[in-house]
Amino acid sequence: MWQGLREELKDSNFEIVTIAADAKGSGAVEPFITAAHQQHPSLLDENLRVAELYDVRNVPAIFWIDESGRMVRANDPVYAQRRNRETAETTLNQEYLDAVRDWAARGPESAYVMDETRLGARLPNLDFDDVAAAASFHLGTYLALHGHPDEALIHFKRAHSLRPENWTYKRQAWNLGDIERDYGTSFQEALKDPASGPFYPPLDLVEASGG
């Protein structure tokens, strides 16, 4: 898990911060946090407002922030461990952990630091429909948590149609309702929806050579 990395890099001016972007709040996430014996700041973003600020379109989403507060990688869809589908064996994601180690050691000289073009691809400029989708999502979440599931559905569906590539809006809405009953689909079917684009973007750990 990430804690091992934190321990290893504790003398490299390095800190891990995790944020649970989860409308069900501490009740839903506390068991995970407790089980992991987390030592780093482990924070709760119950209204997903900070997830909105970072344009988190799915989880996990990892950002690297340098000493001056600038982002040098954004929206990496990475777990600390990998699971082999055939053998169900779990191994550490060494390739990514090594990339983090490299950044901790070399800072801006690290090949894993993204340049402006690559960052721009991970953080597209927002248009009005994007923020309108966020408004509908937040309204839907409020209504779902205040006993108005039918009304919530209207606004969640509007958010999904305005910003189909945002899986956070979908997965949180499904979690607050029922994907089959309310949305007439299944997770496997939703993954195939061409309007949604990929569930996770390609990791693109280093810049493609020759490109």
């Binding site: 911060v17 995790t18 944020i19 922030i65 983090v100 309204l139 209504l143 606004h155 997965r171």
Partner: protein, 139 residues
């Protein structure tokens, strides 16, 4: 005139005497600051150091007597608004100058969030360190 619930990003207010007509939300001018943080001054609609002048052409659509049209103001500053008719709940998102510049500077957006014990943590507390920031969820 009826009650409405206004979610002005993190601020939730129950507004008595609100009037909604289609996509418009009128409310007593006296409630404006409590609901939104904005207040009407001679130079415009102001909050902290920001003052938004009200164009003459839109004044009539925004201010009538002691009533203020919060949605017309939202259109002026390009705030997204979502409205649920059945429950009379309104959500107002951030103004254009916040969302248009949010990520283009590549500065990591500042936040302050609680941990499980309620202790608050700000990203800026970690300035001078490399920060590995991970979002996750139970869903």
């Amino acid at each position: 005139m009826a009650d409405a619930t206004v979610l002005y990003q993190d601020r939730e207010t129950r507004v008595k005497g609100a009037g909604s007509a289609g996509d418009d939300l009128w409310m007593p001018l006296s409630e404006l600051k409590a609901i939104s943080g904005w207040e009407l001054k001679p130079e415009g609609v102001c909050k902290d150091e920001v003052c938004v002048p009200v164009p003459d052409a839109r004044r009539q659509a925004m201010i009538r007597g002691d009533q203020f049209n919060l949605t017309e103001f939202a259109r002026l500053i390009e705030q997204p608004v979502a409205h649920d008719e059945n429950t009379s709940v309104w959500y107002f998102g951030p103004p254009a100058w916040e969302w248009k510049s949010r990520l283009t500077s590549r500065l990591a957006p500042e936040f302050t969030l609680p941990d499980l014990s309620g202790r608050m943590h700000a990203l800026s507390d970690l300035r001078g360190k490399k920060v590995f920031l991970l979002f996750w969820a139970s869903w």
